[in-house]
C-alpha cells in the first residue's frame, strides 16, 4: 500500500479513523495528504464536529410522553405488578 493517497482514498481513511484504529502506515498516509490538502483537512474537521455535536444531549424543547402513551404504559405496568 502506497503512502500517496488522493482525496477519495483519504476520505475513507478519515471516516475509518472514527470507527477503528488505523494501521501505522494508514495513519502516516492520511496525515501526509491532510498536510497538503485543505479540503480534506476541512472534511476531517467536519467529521469530528458532527461527532461532537451528536454527543450533546440537548432535550430542551423536545416533547415528552403523550397522555395517551403514559396511560397505556401505566395500565400495562399495573397488569404486571
Amino acid at each position: 500500500m502506497g503512502l500517496i493517497k488522493n482525496c477519495k482514498e483519504t476520505s475513507v481513511l478519515v471516516t475509518q479513523s472514527l470507527d477503528r484504529g488505523l494501521t501505522f502506515q494508514e495513519r502516516i498516509a492520511m496525515k501526509l495528504h491532510l498536510m497538503i490538502c485543505r479540503n480534506c483537512a476541512r472534511f476531517m474537521k467536519q467529521m469530528h464536529l458532527i461527532r461532537s455535536w451528536l454527543r450533546i444531549e440537548n432535550e430542551a424543547g423536545q416533547h415528552g410522553l403523550t397522555d395517551e402513551a403514559r396511560e397505556r404504559i401505566a395500565s400495562k405496568l399495573r397488569e404486571e405488578e
Partner: protein, 181 residues
C-alpha cells in the same frame, strides 16, 4: 430504590426522549420505554443501589434500543438498502483523479444558544433524510456508542459492510449539513 409506581412519573419523559433521539420514532420510543419498565419490574431485586434508579433504567433502555434497531434492520434488509456495491451516489463527489469536486466551507463550532438550536434542527433534518438503514447503523455507532464489532454482531453484517455504511452515512450527513449550517 424508588417506588415502581412512580418510575413512569419521574423518569418516563426522560427515557422517552432518550429513546426517541436514537430511534427517530415516537411509537418505537414508547415501546422501548414500556419494555424497559416491564423488564425493570422483573429485575427489581437485581438493582444494586450503586447507581441511581434513572441510570439503572437507562442501562436497560439502551439494550432495548439496540434490540429494536436490530429487528428493524433485519426486517427491511430483503433488498439490501445498505448495499456496499452501490457506490454511485458517492462516486459523484470526486473527479476522475479522485479529488473532491466541491470545495467545503469552514463550519466552525456554534457558540450561541440560537446557533445551537438551529444546528440541532439541521442535524434532525439530515438524519431524517438519511436512508433508514444508514440512519440505524449510524445511530448505533454515534448515539448508542456501539463499537464496530458490536454493530456487526447485532446486525449480522461483515466488518467491511459496516464500515462502508458508516462511511456513506457520514458523507451524506456532511453534504446535507453543508448547506444548512
Amino acid at each position: 430504590m424508588g417506588d415502581p409506581a412512580r418510575w413512569l412519573e419521574e423518569h418516563g419523559d426522560y427515557l422517552f426522549r432518550y429513546a426517541r433521539r436514537r430511534l427517530f420514532s415516537d411509537e418505537l420510543a414508547e415501546d422501548a420505554v414500556q419494555e424497559t419498565f416491564l423488564a425493570a419490574l422483573k429485575a427489581q431485586e437485581r438493582f444494586s443501589g450503586d447507581s441511581t434508579v434513572r441510570t439503572w433504567l437507562t442501562g436497560i433502555l439502551k439494550h432495548k434500543i439496540v434490540d429494536i434497531i436490530r429487528h428493524q434492520y433485519r426486517e427491511v434488509t430483503a433488498p439490501p438498502s445498505g448495499d456496499p456495491d452501490n457506490e454511485d451516489d458517492w462516486d459523484a463527489l470526486f473527479d476522475k483523479s479522485g479529488h473532491w469536486v466541491e470545495t467545503f466551507r469552514d463550519w466552525g463550532d456554534p457558540a450561541s444558544e440560537l446557533e445551537r438550536s438551529r444546528l440541532r434542527d439541521a442535524l434532525d433534518e439530515c438524519f431524517r433524510r438519511l436512508k433508514p438503514n444508514l440512519a440505524r447503523i449510524f445511530s448505533l455507532r454515534e448515539l448508542s456508542g456501539l463499537s464496530n464489532e458490536e454493530i456487526c454482531k447485532a446486525l449480522e453484517i461483515t466488518t467491511t459492510n459496516a464500515w462502508v455504511m458508516l462511511h456513506r452515512a457520514r458523507l451524506f450527513l456532511r453534504e446535507c449539513l453543508e448547506t444548512r449550517i
